[in-house]
Amino acid sequence: MSHGNNAAEQVLRSSGVDVRKCMRCGKCTATCPAFDEMEYHPHQFVYMVEKGEIDKLAASPSIYKCLSCFACVERCPRGVEPAKLVEAVRLAVIRKQGMNHLATDAIPALLDEEMPQQALVSALRKYSK
């Protein structure tokens, strides 16, 4: 356990999540629609943030796979809000210079005719600074 490391503290502060509330029931991971796409799953985000293993999470593509559907937030019996941890780790990464997951000019190629603006704006918000 590496309590008190700066990266972990930043994630806790920015997410507002109290990871100690977690009782390891696994309901977040059970309900997560993006499970298959994720390397680390919602319950692991909670546990790994508690252990201070932010680097592993930050390097994982998992942080771009969360759909922000709030299913884990809604269904967690302990009010832990795992999605907020995923967002906090992701922000910690993309806020750094040159760390955008998708560059703005790379996005048009991914779009098709019918894709609504909303998808584009969401992707920009989620993937870049």
Binding site: S14, K65, L67, A71, L102, E114, A119, S122
Partner: protein
Amino acid sequence: MKFSYYPGCTLKTKGKDLDRYGRLCAEALGVTLAELPDWQCCGAVYPMAKDEIATKLSAVRALASSRDEGTELVTLCSACHNVIKQVNHDMQTDADIALRVNNYLGLDTPYTGETTVLHYLEVLRDRVGFDAIKAAVKNPLTGRKIGAYYGCLLLRPGKVMRFDDPENPTILEDFIRAIGAEPVIYAMRNECCGGYIAVEDKGAAVKRSSAVLDNAAAKGADTLVTACPLCLYNLKKNGGRDDVAVVYFTELLAEALGVK
């Protein structure tokens, strides 16, 4: 009944139908939707982090200008609704965010969450009333089997949205009954369509959307209604089946009210 109205960017472009029919129906039901003159894009996803201020400003501007108008604020797009309602909740409950946002905006009167945010469906349910809608229906959609697709954004987080029971919602089903059709209840109606992941990982969106559609089809739905342009896109484009139509709920309402 007069409300401030926040359409959002998608409703001005790819989601025009949601907006157009929404306005027509409002008019038919005696509801005045006054579009906020100076609205800006809400950002489409709620910024969850406590230290995100800039990304919340446009929502607060809309909320404050609705307050200055002295009206409640109506949204139609699920995503805008989710962002604006959650930001409003932050302004009511998180003193730190409220302080920093107000410091930045420098409004004449600081904004502290005074505006009531309503989704168009809430206006139908709580202000117009489904009974009144039923009475106003000219072409009931009798015989149609329609599944409500809530997705995530209207319902969650339940404690903030206070829209309906997040696990067992009834508002869209009641709406479907009011326009004369039969609601089809299926478990996937409040599960994610894949959302913006479609931009980067189409496969993931296909998986999510087809699970929703398959479940609705298995329960006998011929049509799904939604309030979200991105859900509509995913279900149509990535759902992998064309035997279930996916339409905006406002379009069906317009059809039933005879204003389409």
